[in-house]
Symmetry: C2
Subunit: 256 residues, 2 copies
DNA sequence: AGGTGTGAAACTCTTCACAGCA
DNA sequence: TGCTGTGAAGAGTTTCACACCT
């Protein structure tokens, strides 16, 4: 997911599995909704449905946090909200900077969910001098020259990169040098960062390509069902004339 | 990842593992860059570095596609680009619609990578009548009333939802009813969709929360190194008075 | 009765390490 | 010699199913 080394290589000291961590925000959101409706308790079954996972998984996930439920009853909503928030580190406020205030950066700055839980946009930074001073989402954009100062003055440890791909690596280096240790990267590049820095990436075109893959599969299946050819297009003769199918050779319907 | 059922439940017919599929776009991007620099061949080691994965994983991934390399030499760049594109279904053009043309929707519409490889923005749709006709990224926004017609006329099977959370479920239902079978959801909601529909979600606040979790860990480790307390904040007495630490009880330094 | 917490089984994914081909 | 392709081992994740508590 990131280029930075994995967390807790072999020995997981207080080990919550990464897969579980990735789901905690989901549970938190569902719980927050329940809390707003003043629902006092919830069963693993109900909460799992709201979060879109299965209940055994949810219970196992919670078991890593401790025994927070009551047998025969379920989980106390408020209490769980607190416990998960705490576990995720959302009981404190994280100042973040957004670098690259183009369409996307502006969208992120305006995103409400940002401020909602634990995060605060400390600054918007852009390389275009013409942007400097312009308010976006009520926050004046600052020039890249100020980057290091902003990071240090605000004690920022989380940076969001929404620059063009070409600028991303350099921006990440400056952020890191100034003290940032977690980066959310929207630029379509692989960032290489030193050990200890976490990078998560959000990449639109990758997501679309994954969807396209499955979409193509569905088309293939329909075709198969109606007796048409299945495997993608023809196997034209490329440079390497020695390729063979996935496992040995697929005993599939050959195209014309 | 999605609410829709998993692909290939038990028997993987022509099974490329999901984890591999998710990395193919990454390889494709790295290969495209090499191709633009007219690099003819590349070793698994080099390509892996460019894609930010390790070489054994990359070779294993490629082995699911077939034997496309040459021992002692490496992989033919152009040929691999073609094979991966084909596998991902990018040799055909996928028309997509973007629903919800706010800040984010506009950012997506303007996103270059969209058009670049295999995707074409067929239409922009928004519920605000005031938006109708306005061009965004050169494409006139159409009103939600037209949604079904647009989907059908263009044979759209992939939809992008960039609406507020409250509208997302309903939009997804309309998209699906009109024929969409893959959805990329940017709204912070769990979509519930019928079997056979793929949903992928991109959720800013979830990503940030995951970063916050690790960030907090790092802070904890530093503190531990300097002898301060490790486990998050205090264990206040909540509703359930029976909680216990993760594995038994953490023999950690108790806070004051 | 009802629903959590969890060992154990099943499955998926990653990494190792090396046989075998160019 | 150099690098791919891959069995086999290992790590991580999900699911099952049921003991146990309320």
């Amino acid at each position: 997911m990131a280029t930075g080394r994995n967390h807790r290589p072999a020995t997981r000291s207080r080990g919550i599995p990464e897969a579980t961590v990735a789901r905690l925000p989901l549970y938190l959101r569902a719980l927050t909704a329940l809390s707003e409706r003043s629902v006092p308790t919830v069963s693993s079954e109900e909460l799992a449905a709201a979060a879109g996972v299965n209940s055994a998984k949810l219970r196992k996930d919670f078991s890593y946090l401790g025994s927070y439920g009551t047998r025969g009853v379920g989980y106390d909503v408020e209490y769980l909200v607190y416990q998960i928030s705490r576990e995720l580190g959302l009981t404190q406020d994280w100042p973040v900077v957004i670098v690259g205030i183009g369409n996307l950066g502006a969208a992120l700055a305006n995103y409400g969910g940002f401020a909602s839980r634990g995060f605060r946009v400390a600054a918007l930074i852009d390389a275009d001098p013409a942007m400097a001073g312009k308010p976006v989402a009520g926050i004046p954009v600052q020039h890249t020259d100020e980057l290091e100062k902003i990071i240090k003055d605000n004690g920022v440890s989380i940076g969001v990169i929404a620059t063009p791909a070409g600028a991303a690596q350099q921006v990440s280096e400056r952020l890191i040098a100034a003290g940032v240790t977690s980066i959310l990267n929207f630029a379509p590049t692989v960032l290489s960062v030193p050990e200890g820095v976490d990078v998560r990436k959000v990449d639109l075109s990758i997501e679309l390509q994954i969807l396209a893959f499955h979409e193509q599969r569905k088309a293939g299946e329909e075709a198969a069902a109606s007796g048409a050819d299945v495997t993608p297009p023809p196997l034209r003769g490329g440079p390497a004339a020695n390729r063979k199918g996935p496992d040995g050779d697929v005993p599939a319907v050959m195209p014309a």
